[in-house]
Symmetry: C2
Subunit: 496 residues, 2 copies
Amino acid sequence: MASLSTNAFHPLEPTDFSQDSKKVIDFIADYYKNIEKYPVLSQVKPGYLKPQFPDTAPYSPESLEDILKDIDASIIPGLTHWQSPNFFAYFQANASTAGFLGEMLCSGFNVVNFGWITSPAATELETLVMDWMAKMLELPPPFMSSGNGGGVLHSSTCEAIVCTLAAARDKVLTKNGHEAITKLVVYSSDQTHSSLQKGVKLVGIPPTNVRCLPTAFPEGFSLSPLTLEAAIRKDIKSGFIPLYLCGTVGTTACGAVDPVGKLGKVARKYNLWFHIDAAYAGSACICPEFRHYLDGVELADSFSMNPHKWFLTNMDCCCLWVQNPDSLIESLSTKPEYLRNGATDTLNVIDYKDWQIALSRRFIALKLWVVIRRHGLATLRFHIRSDVKLASYFESLVAKDSRFEVVLPRKFALVCFRLKAGKNKAHNENLNQRLNKKLLQGVNESGNAFMTHAVVGGVYFIRCAVGSTLTEERHVEGLWKLIQDKATKVLLNATY
Amino acid sequence: MASLSTNAFHPLEPTDFSQDSKKVIDFIADYYKNIEKYPVLSQVKPGYLKPQFPDTAPYSPESLEDILKDIDASIIPGLTHWQSPNFFAYFQANASTAGFLGEMLCSGFNVVNFGWITSPAATELETLVMDWMAKMLELPPPFMSSGNGGGVLHSSTCEAIVCTLAAARDKVLTKNGHEAITKLVVYSSDQTHSSLQKGVKLVGIPPTNVRCLPTAFPEGFSLSPLTLEAAIRKDIKSGFIPLYLCGTVGTTACGAVDPVGKLGKVARKYNLWFHIDAAYAGSACICPEFRHYLDGVELADSFSMNPHKWFLTNMDCCCLWVQNPDSLIESLSTKPEYLRNGATDTLNVIDYKDWQIALSRRFIALKLWVVIRRHGLATLRFHIRSDVKLASYFESLVAKDSRFEVVLPRKFALVCFRLKAGKNKAHNENLNQRLNKKLLQGVNESGNAFMTHAVVGGVYFIRCAVGSTLTEERHVEGLWKLIQDKATKVLLNATY
């Protein structure tokens, strides 16, 4: 075997690792320095990339320098810059230095965290950090490890929903037989994120069994417990089995909040699994002034929120807490011989593979733990409040310009607004929609900012989601100037 | 608003980012330098971590130095070191410098890659790199973008299985009505990974409808097409609907290979969705001498393999190809108004969110692309062959010691072996199992290496999965010496 070692290449040699990594660090730091120079929404056309690269993989190694050059020339122009301070679209995806450091450590150790045995630190730190988060959010003890509940880190809300739906489903099917699957009904509002619909389909419940209950302007698009109860009663009468309710704290379209406590009571009354999706606004609930939106969370079976949105945690990171992990484990556990080990057999340890979909789990708890320690609760609250303050500032600017209106009262850092068709004109939703689409297009095509839209209660509006990590007051002011400027042009060219 | 900016903190300031990141790079490089000093399998006891940290999150920021000190003191002892050159357990999780660089770039840009519009580069590079991989594996054109098929990057095999199962299921349910879900049958061998069982449960098919068809020693634990066809016929007779077949190239327990072409013919005959799971061994198929294991792959509907196992790609990265992406999209697509955009509406672009579970997708294509470019096909083949050569070397060492036996002929870089109870003794499986468990325990508790076990055809054996990135000839030799040493002790103390 003498020839083997000398020929061997060393793809993880520490000195190379260090040197190459530092080059990439500098590259990324430069990217952040220059980020305002790039159009926020990528301006490339479909198919732009293909001609820029060979259509087969290289046969021989290429230099890091060449790769970085190509990223500069061909990849960056095709990015929509989520880290740009002028990104106000969808919801922000907060990168931070701390989040990045945590990702590096996770990727560096590269442990596969499917069971306690495969890295006790990864399992136990996940338990610890989920308890920290639960306390910051003032979740009741039954969601914590000390209270027989617990948290787990998923990649996305959709995964959290799939797993809780499966757990809820299997509890009922065990009792009622598998044929009952076509009778299971899932409740949400018409504002609930599309992940629920997808999750329902994935777990084999007929998509037509989702009740997207109507919401309206007067209630700020929150789900009425009366509407919910009426729907449940109707379904029971028709022979359906009410299974699962998804409430939302901070909907995607307009940031609406469902009344957690009141919905929880209905859910308990009819024995539904009650999940609360606070993907976006959950982060805000670490501030006392927002925590009241979670009042009644003790009535929920599960609760999820995404630190990868507004909690300075680079992708991906979704926190899911459940009051009864056994119901998840019942649905998701597998026990093949090749994964058996003494710890699992005898020591009452957590194997998080049984709390989620994949066996191949990353050690992302480390990332969330670094984010929390590096900032601390006080700074994290400051972070949330700064964004809310900026959003409130933007809202005040909109309110001062009589050509515009704020469509819905702002709750967090999302401002829903639109250009009005004109003071003296009869309300004309079609015209409004046309104008606002043009305005939004004008803003986005300028490359100087990126926002998205939504339609709620038949009203088309523009969403300004304030809260990208690099966004400062000057960016919000710049955005507003840009909007005003484009609005003037749109109104000038408008054909009534 | 004057006070806002001055008070603002800067969690992504480029200079801080660069300085802190480089400290962490040095920390990780030191970890790799020292990795052989740590016990490979963590020796901590359950609950070790809790007393070492406060049970609530810190209120104020902590320094990076303190955090790194804690990782050194409290986290590293609780890691099972998957990157240790003495890690021979499960299957390897190949980290590499290139994979790490790719992860950093992915995390640095931190784009949310759910649709073309949210970063055209991320979508188009994913298409490109999946075509590159398909060509390296010599997948037939219908799996490539030019042939109306295509690839997508998932996080794990389980996700790939859930999505393809859902697609297969919905095609049948659309025809037969949703009630038919209880009649759907999924086929695999008794060697198929537990992900299939989990996936079936997740998508709402009764777990009792999985046929784990028997395999045996004489056929090397590969699934017989005759057994499969007999099972299908029996199910049809009983009123079931054959739905899905999962074949495996390189099973977890012993590296068995199902006969792809022959199984494919049966699958086509009965109109089953045929998925091939090559999570581990797929990487080897970039070498012509292994490619024949995929002969007949043109008969498959989908094919998956995990670069995060044996392809120098840090976690996570699972490649899934399908011949007909429309069937995935049919099952997984969601079209809420707030995600509508001109590109999706009119330009015939890919929105990968409709090819997988989550909406929140990372730009992991960049990582796989960096890995491929940085190494090139020739070096990647060399990497596979080096590991296979080392495994073959280990196998020859086992064969030379008459106290041991190689349980099954090695196909890739996994050696299945065991200590025999003694030459002249009657075969006694219980005794063998006891001896080999003791031997394995002795090796793992020494901290000097980590292997795992499996049971196949009633035979308990030790698995030596050669292929951690840092493993060299001397580690394999050290492992063998350790095994011999522990075996001597085990045999000396054995009570027959």
